[in-house]
Amino acid sequence: MGVDLSVDVFGIKFRNPIILASGPVGFGFELMPYLDFSNVGAITLKTVTLKPREGNPPPRLVDSHGGVINSIGLQNPGIEGFVEEIAPRLKELKTIKIGSIAGFSMDEWEILGEEMDKIKEIKIIELNLSCPNVKGKRRWAEDAELTQKVVKIARKLTNKPIIAKLAPDVTDIVEIAKAAVDAGADGLAIGNGIQAMRIDVETGLPVLKLKTGGLGGPAIKPITLAKVFKTREALDVPIIGIGGIMNWQDAIEHAMAGASLLGLGTAVMVDPEAPVRIIEGIKAFLDRKKIESFNKIIGVAHKGGLNVH
């Protein structure tokens, strides 16, 4: 049976809802031998900052029960390097490209937004308002006003769809989400890693050199899932559900909670072919349930579940 996995959001047709979240896959090129990009809905590129960043000193990654904590610290070539070296090669990635940017000041956001807007291969711009790994900086997405300001700047600079990537570990994500949408965000990514840490009992010191990092992986799935659910309850805007999606069941859970697109971080880092496995699983599930289109399950947890339909 032909199950329709395509998703239409932001006026763009994604061939399926599985997208690669920003970071773990870098700019994607090293992944090409392992993953046929024409199989995934989109790739979100590694976040780009104004200046090049070498990232935090190692260790930058440590695992924990059910998850992985990273403090990469936005290692990237800076917007100039990105425009010169990466942008010209983006055609090679045979899927939709979402550009991700992070500014440290309003001026930086402005320049980053302008530059991203110019790159033809980038169809959507994601504002990383929530990187948990930048030393000494609060996250923009901890504050509704700051979130609103950043989104407004970006909105003025581009007609491309804008996604605000939020932090799941805030008191009231709905408040922040509303601020982003009011300022003109077309969609929300929920969410980034959750601030976390591990201590090496042998030394008595934090394992990560930065001390804390962002926790991703199955440990956080039920947490971000609740955030997706709550946000969807309050707002009718496309959501990219991210957080601990490791298998098709996790993906379906996020969709049922209200996510239109499903972002993989840790899963694809652990297994570059996870997207294919998950897409196959979604297909088989819909097939078995005799549901002809993925769209039908988005948000069903708010509408009485599957049997109502």
Partner: protein
């Protein structure tokens, strides 16, 4: 592609062990210095890097030190337990070293794994082997012939570094893998194989950064072998 790997044989002595897995798929032309990412079926979630110690007919042998959660699980698993691996990842040592030279292989602890594979594949490039361990208990993992390469501190009071000093000369290269303090004590021109916490093993996630005189490099994509003198050791 994740390949199913069934634990077929284990030989353990305290915190070290040799583990042989039957793979339900092929490793493509694995070379010495390359590693596999090995994953447990549930916990830990992360796949972790292990150098190839030996590979033949879909039988992969790893030499593992028990240090934490995944290695602990491997040690306590019954025969028949299923793991997953992918690889080989990382660059073959032969692609990074001077192919004209002969090498002294200097290993410490689990660092001997890639050196063993190197000497299996490239015996003529090997001048000498020094495999350093703390305790005599390690002997039982090796054949009598293999034991000749062991430098056991508890027995001789000497480390591999001590032994190396006696025979080292500039014409011979050094190819080393082991703990950082050992690597730091090697001559500047040595090739050192680095370890780092890894996420992806293929160069995308930027977890395994190492600072060199030519900027930040990745152990998985640019290494694991580096010239000792190129490394900014303070960053490690």
């Amino acid at each position: 592609m994740l390949i199913e790997a069934e634990l077929k044989e284990k030989k353990i002595s305290k915190d070290y062990g040799l583990f042989t897995f039957k793979l339900y798929g092929d490793l493509e032309n694995p070379e010495a210095g390359q590693f596999v990412m090995l994953k447990a079926s549930d916990e830990p979630v992360l796949a972790k890097p292990f150098s190839i110690y030996s590979y033949k007919n879909r039988e992969l042998t790893l030499f593992i030190k028990r240090v934490g959660r995944l290695t602990g699980k491997i040690f306590s698993s019954p025969i028949g337990e299923m793991f997953y691996i992918r690889g080989p990842h990382g660059n073959p040592y032969v692609d990074l070293i001077d192919g004209e030279k002969q090498y002294i292989l200097v290993g410490g602890g689990s660092g001997i794994a890639p050196l063993n594979f190197f000497s299996e594949l490239h015996p003529t490039m090997v001048y000498e082997k020094f495999y350093g361990f703390k305790g005599s208990y390690i002997r039982e993992l090796f054949t009598e012939k293999e034991q000749r390469n062991l430098i056991i501190e508890e027995e001789s009071g000497k480390t591999v570094i001590d032994v190396l000093k006696d025979i080292y000369s500039e014409e011979i290269g050094i190819l080393a893998c082991g703990p950082v303090p050992m690597l730091k004590n090697l001559p500047a021109t040595s090739y050192v194989s680095l370890e780092a916490m890894m996420g992806c093993g293929i160069g995308t996630c930027k977890s395994c950064a190492v600072k060199t005189k030519k900027g930040v490099k990745l152990v998985c994509k640019n290494g694991p072998l580096f010239r000792k003198e190129e490394i900014i050791w303070e960053w490690i």
